[in-house]
């Protein structure tokens, strides 16, 4: 796990502008040593820009970046002890696998034989020793990916940057590589900064995640925290599936907020700083935390009519119209069918939720 006493990368008030366009709007964040840190967001959110600023491929318009206490934002990429795994791997096509992996060491002044030896060790680590003398084009996508990893790790960087490294692989391989990457990070003890637009990837691999959108940091936290306590609409909507309901806050008492959601329906949930009485905001309720029943239960219950059931493999999604109110989706796991009833379209039912399931969002 990460070492919270040492900060590996410290980004302070970093701004990136291209002419009139602002790609990054004053971002500050600290990445700890030995951490698997993920920058997550849709394309164009600025995550890759931030990564390339740390690598040295983009100038920093304003602000500073520190690497283990040293200010680095003015240094060219070849003077920064960080290495990158590129999205398309950027393996040198005219060099063999060994020459690729040994390149960084040679550039750092190591002798050819030393570079070769270390490259051999790295290839062993990623289990590609038998391909040492091939050209990159003779390898499969997954193998190229591992060569890129070995090449970036060979010079023993202080921080490894990974720019959507799994996006070019097919689904099965991608899932296997997630596990391998996580292992590799634990084995080497190097800080990984991982950029992705795939929330599942982020949730399964990261110690901490920074969710970004429109050049801004939306939320920073551990995977579970981000999934269960999204801070705002963007995070709730981007990560996982959710029911977003328009509500108005009627009353706040004892840390609980009583909210109205139209059609006379009422819900109680934890209060959130920044959302006061009278505010009209959104509420997020994860569909898997809801269940249906014939009668109201002790928990929060909302009455509605089932519109349709959709079979999605592991789950069944039930779409239900609340009486005079909004539409909601309820997800029932197929393995759970013994306990939970499936209602036919047209049937009346109550939507129930646990106390912590609903979450008020700052818009």
């Amino acid at each position: 796990m990460s070492d919270k006493d040492t900060i590996a990368v410290d980004v302070r008030d970093a701004v990136k502008r291209y002419g009139d366009f602002t790609a990054l709007q004053r971002i500050s964040l600290s990445i700890y040593d030995n951490e698997f840190f993920t920058l997550l967001g849709p394309s164009g959110c600025g995550k890759t820009t931030l990564l390339r600023m740390i690598a040295g491929f983009e100038d920093v318009t304003e602000g500073a970046i520190f690497l283990f206490g040293d200010e680095i934002e003015k240094l060219p990429p070849n003077k920064r002890p960080v290495n990158t795994v590129f999205q398309n791997y950027a393996l040198f096509p005219h060099m063999t696998v060994t020459e690729n992996v040994g390149f960084g060491l040679e550039m750092r002044g190591k002798s050819k034989s030393e570079a070769r030896q270390r490259a051999g060790e790295m290839l062993e680590l990623v289990q590609l020793s038998q391909f040492a003398d091939r050209k990159p084009a003779q390898l499969s996508g997954g193998q190229q990916q591992r060569v890129a990893l070995a090449r970036a790790l060979a010079p023993q960087p202080k921080v490894l940057l990974l720019d959507e490294p799994l996006s070019a692989l097919d689904l099965k391989l991608r899932q296997a590589m997630r596990f391998e990457l996580k292992e590799l990070q634990r084995e080497t003890g190097i800080t990984f900064i991982f950029v992705t637009h795939d929330q599942e990837e982020a949730l399964t691999m990261s110690d901490r995640i920074a969710v970004m959108s429109a050049g801004k940091l939306q939320q920073l936290g551990e995977a579970k925290e981000i999934y269960e306590r999204p801070h705002n609409m963007f995070v709730a909507d981007f990560i996982g599936e959710t029911n977003l309901l328009e509500v108005s806050v009627d009353k706040i008492a004892d840390g609980r907020a009583i909210c109205h959601l139209g059609g006379g329906h009422e819900l109680t949930c934890n209060e959130v700083p920044g959302v006061g009485v009278g505010s009209k905001v959104h509420m997020s309720v994860r569909p898997e935390r809801l269940f249906l029943s014939d009668e109201p239960t002790e928990s929060e219950s909302l009455k509605g009519q089932v519109r349709d059931n959709i079979f999605v493999g592991t789950d069944i999604q039930t779409i239900i119209d609340l009486a005079d109110g909004p539409q909601m989706i309820v997800r029932t796991s197929n393995s759970d069918r013994g306990n939970k009833r499936i209602f036919e379209p047209g049937a009346q039912a109550y939507v129930n939720m646990e106390q912590e399931a609903a979450r008020l969002l700052v818009d």
Binding site: A55, G56, F57, P76, P77, N78, K79, V82, N83, T84, F86, Q87, N88, A90, L91, F92, P93, H94, F103, G104, M107, R108, A137, R151, A152, P155
Partner: protein
């Protein structure tokens, strides 16, 4: 995939047109090649195959003239191609890897200027230029003019190639502690090589083949192969001219074929 009558892509008559097009393009070349082997003093009558006119080019009464012209042509082509390819490679690096800059459009206009200005106008202008600065016309003036108008021909394949190379290769090199110079020499140049070779070959052929500009700036006494051939042809087409033409034609076709295969070889794969 069957190509039936319902194939909306095919039109009747287009294949014959294509064949006609190729016949028109190749027939004169084939005919000259065949007649260069004619064992006859007259170009009209066919008297069987012989290589006597090829021998005549090297040993006949005009052989000395052709030898000097060939020497001039080939040395000028080699030097002009080497210099213009070097200049074009540097320029392409600035144009393709130099970001946006104000003089970029102007620079591109300047580089493609020899392609836009009619050749006869370039020829006149170059003659006037050397005359106005009092430079005696001869080998050197031909060479300088050739270097200038070969630049765009070398530039095109080189810049096209560079456009096709992702800049992430150089970034990866610099990420792995290479300096910019090392990224250029160790990564970009090797990847560029096919483009540079084909640029060199095109520049070489263009210089070797040029007649109009050379004819204006050569001055008295200095001849290249095309100007020597033109001089002879003005007195009528003779068999030895067909032999020398066939040889020059073969050089061009061989060089272009090499260029084609080099540029097709993709060393990024």
């Amino acid at each position: 995939m069957a190509r039936g009558k319902n194939d909306i892509k095919s039109f009747p008559g287009f294949l014959p047109m294509t064949i006609l097009c190729l016949v028109i393009l190749y027939a004169p070349l084939v005919v000259v090649t065949i007649y260069s082997l004619n064992d006859s003093n007259s170009i009209t009558n066919w008297e069987g195959i012989s290589f006597r006119w090829y021998a005549d080019v090297f040993t006949g009464p005009e052989s000395e003239k052709f030898k000097i012209a060939a020497w001039n042509s080939f040395t000028i082509a080699i030097i002009a191609a080497t210099v213009s390819t070097t200049i074009a490679t540097l320029a392409a690096t600035a144009m393709v890897r130099g970001g946006r800059f104000r003089l970029r459009t102007v620079s591109f206009g300047l580089i493609s200027l020899p392609l836009m200005v009619p050749e006869i106008v370039t020829a006149v202008a170059t003659l006037i230029f050397f005359n106005s600065i009092g430079f005696t016309r001869g080998y050197l003036t031909i060479l300088m003019a050739h270097i200038a108008f070969c630049i765009p021909f070398a530039y095109m394949p080189i810049s096209a190639r560079m456009q096709g190379i992702e800049d992430s290769y150089e970034q990866a090199a610099m990420d792995l502690y290479a300096t910019k110079r090392q990224a250029f020499t160790k990564i970009l140049m090797p990847l560029m090589l096919p483009g540079i070779i084909s640029g060199y070959i095109l520049a070489f052929i263009i210089s070797l083949d040029d007649f109009i500009i050379t004819n204006f700036v050569k001055g008295a006494g200095v001849e290249t192969l095309p100007t020597a051939i033109f001089g002879s042809v003005k007195q009528g087409i003779k068999p030895n001219i067909m032999a020398i033409s066939t040889m020059l034609l073969a050089v061009s076709i061989i060089m272009v074929t090499i260029s084609y295969f080099v540029s097709k070889s993709d060393n990024t794969k």
